[in-house]
Structure formats: C-alpha cells, structure tokens
C-alpha cells in the first residue's frame, strides 16, 4: 500500500507542485507546503477507496491543506512581499505585451485570498464547474458566482 501510494504520488506530483506554486512565493515555502500536502495525503490515504480518480482526490486534499492547515503555520504573504515572488512563465515565445500581461496576472492571482486561489487553480487546470464544485465542496451555482466575482476582482487589480 505504501509503495502504491508513493508511486501514485510521484506520478501525480505536478498537481501538488502547481498548488504550491499558487500558494507560495519562495522555493523554501514551496518545499514546505509540498511536504505538508504529502503528509496529509498519506494520512488520508486509507480513506481513499479509489472511487474517484487519485488526482481528483488529491486536488481536494492538496487544496484543503493549502487553505486550512498551511495557513495556521505560515504567516500569510504580505502585499509588499509580492514583489519578491519569483514568477516564472513558460518558455514560450510571447510578444512583449503578452509577456507583461502574464506577469501582471501571476502577480494579481497571488493577491487573491486562499479560497479564491483554489477556484482559480481549478479554472486554470481546465476543470468544469461540476468538478470545481465537487472538489471544493460548494454548489455549482456558487462556484460560478464566485468565479465571476474573482474575474471582477482580477480586472480591478489589473486596472486600478
């Protein structure tokens, strides 16, 4: 069982990395959160019966950890610290305008609160609202409403 868990986790580690990327700023905190999520997944693993896909289940645990557990331990990033965040964008060739937009977007997303980040995360992962709602334990309508509000908030951050 342990071996199974470790190899499943290894296969799906990108998912955790991505959660860490959204919720942390530095390499150290990224590693910390990664470890915390791994521990929580391992603790919850006996309850994972394989009804859902491992990744769907892992999304839920990872986001919950990032939202609840992690917040207790680590001071939330202050607004001024966003400047220090290292945002990396993919190595695609973008035109300068697009690149600037991307940088601003990454920065804007880091300013959202933890729950909003979770929604954006699922959105970026290209999940539909049914799955977003299920993972976050809210209704589908609520997920849609929240997502629209977040879009509004992001627009405001981008064009103050």
């Amino acid at each position: 069982m342990e071996q199974q868990f470790v190899s499943l986790l290894k296969e799906n580690q990108n998912l955790i990395h991505k959660v860490c990327r959204l919720y942390t700023c530095t390499e150290d905190t990224h590693k910390d959160l990664f470890q915390e999520i791994t521990i929580q997944l391992w603790k919850a693993y006996p309850k994972f019966r394989g009804e859902a896909k491992f990744s769907t289940w892992a999304y839920r645990v990872a986001l919950n950890t990032a939202i609840t557990l992690y917040r207790k331990d680590v001071k939330q990033v202050k607004t001024t610290e966003y400047e220090k965040c290292s945002f990396f964008i993919s190595q695609e060739e973008y035109n300068p305008e697009e690149e600037e937009q991307l940088k601003l977007m990454y920065k804007a997303i880091h300013q959202l609160n933890d729950i909003e980040k979770a929604l954006v995360f699922m959105y970026l992962e290209d999940k539909d609202y049914t799955e977003i709602a299920e993972t976050l334990g809210i209704s589908e309508v609520n997920a849609r409403v929240k997502m629209n509000r977040i879009k509004g908030k992001l627009k405001k951050i981008l064009n103050p």
Binding site: M1, T38, P46
Partner: protein
Amino acid sequence: MKELDLLKKDWQKTQSQFKEVSENEIYSMIHKKSSSVVKWILIVSIIEFVVLNGIGLFLSDDFTKKFTELHPYLNIFEKVNYLIVLGFIYLFYRNYKSISVVDSSKRLIEAILNTRKIVNIYIIWNIAIGSFFGVFGAIDGFTAAYSKNNSLKAHIEPVTMAISVAVSLLIIIPIIWVFYKLVYGWLLRNLSKNYEELKKINLEN
C-alpha cells in the same frame, strides 16, 4: 477575460518546469514526524546527561565527599554508570540514524517499537541506579541522624534501618519515575500516535 485565458494557456505549459521529487524523498517526507520524535529523544537524553552531571559537579559538597570516602567502590560504580548512560545515548543515536533512512512503514514500525523498548529500559535502569545510590545515601543519612539524637545508641536496630530505607525508597522511586515519565513520556506518546496510524495503514494493506 482574455488575460485569464492567456494565463490558462501558459499555466498548462509550465508543467515540466518543476523539480521532480523522487520516490525516496516522498518516503522520507511521510516518515519525517517519527524521525523528528526520535531525534528529540536523542537530544533530550544528551541534555539530561549533561545537566544532571553538571549539577553533580557543582554539588560536590562535604556530604558527597564524605559519601565517596565512605564508599569508594561506589565511585567506580558511578563511572561505570556514566559509560552505560553514554551507551544508551549511542543507542538513541543509532535509532535516529536508522529511522531517518527507513523506506517502508513496516520497518518504521519496527524502529519505533525498538526505540520505545530502549527508552523503557533506560528509564528502568535509571530507577534502579537511583534506588541503589538512594539506599546507601539513606543508610548514611539515618546513621548520622540517629547518632546525633541518641549519642549512646550508635548502633541502630537492623529492622528500624530496613524500614527507614524502605520508606525513603518509596519516596525516591516515584520521584525518579515521574521525572522520566514527564521528560520522555510526552515524546513516547507522540511516537505511539504515529505508530497507531502506521499500524492502521498496514492493516488495511
């Protein structure tokens, strides 16, 4: 929102840019808690050794001088005890080393049980040693006290002495026991919790 769509596209392209975590790293992550408890057992045992013996050095007053003069063999015994305690510390160190590299929960369970066993033996050893020195201390103390109060009767009835020593032991042993339970009990409890969790995981295997 076109910025968000652009971000989504970019987000999905950054998949391969994370530093890959190996299986070994994952193993050590899920075992980290136990190894940190075992690390603390090691640290606490070293602190205890240094502090208790440090106090002993500062307290070498007349009574202890007389005590060692009266019982020179106890001095040797004390040195032997140092070696034994150092031996325990070495065992704790080895436990810590072995628990940091275990790669399966079965072996981790074994390591936890082993640590618990050694800590319990260590506590029993300390109680035994404490009582042993306590007996000599009590005999000396009572002899001195009796002869002061009753100068004519320097010799004490063996029964009286036996009862006095037994009563002092009844006081000494619980004190030592409580001390070690407080110091190590908390650490062992954390370790046991981990052990229960691991056992659950292994049972469902």
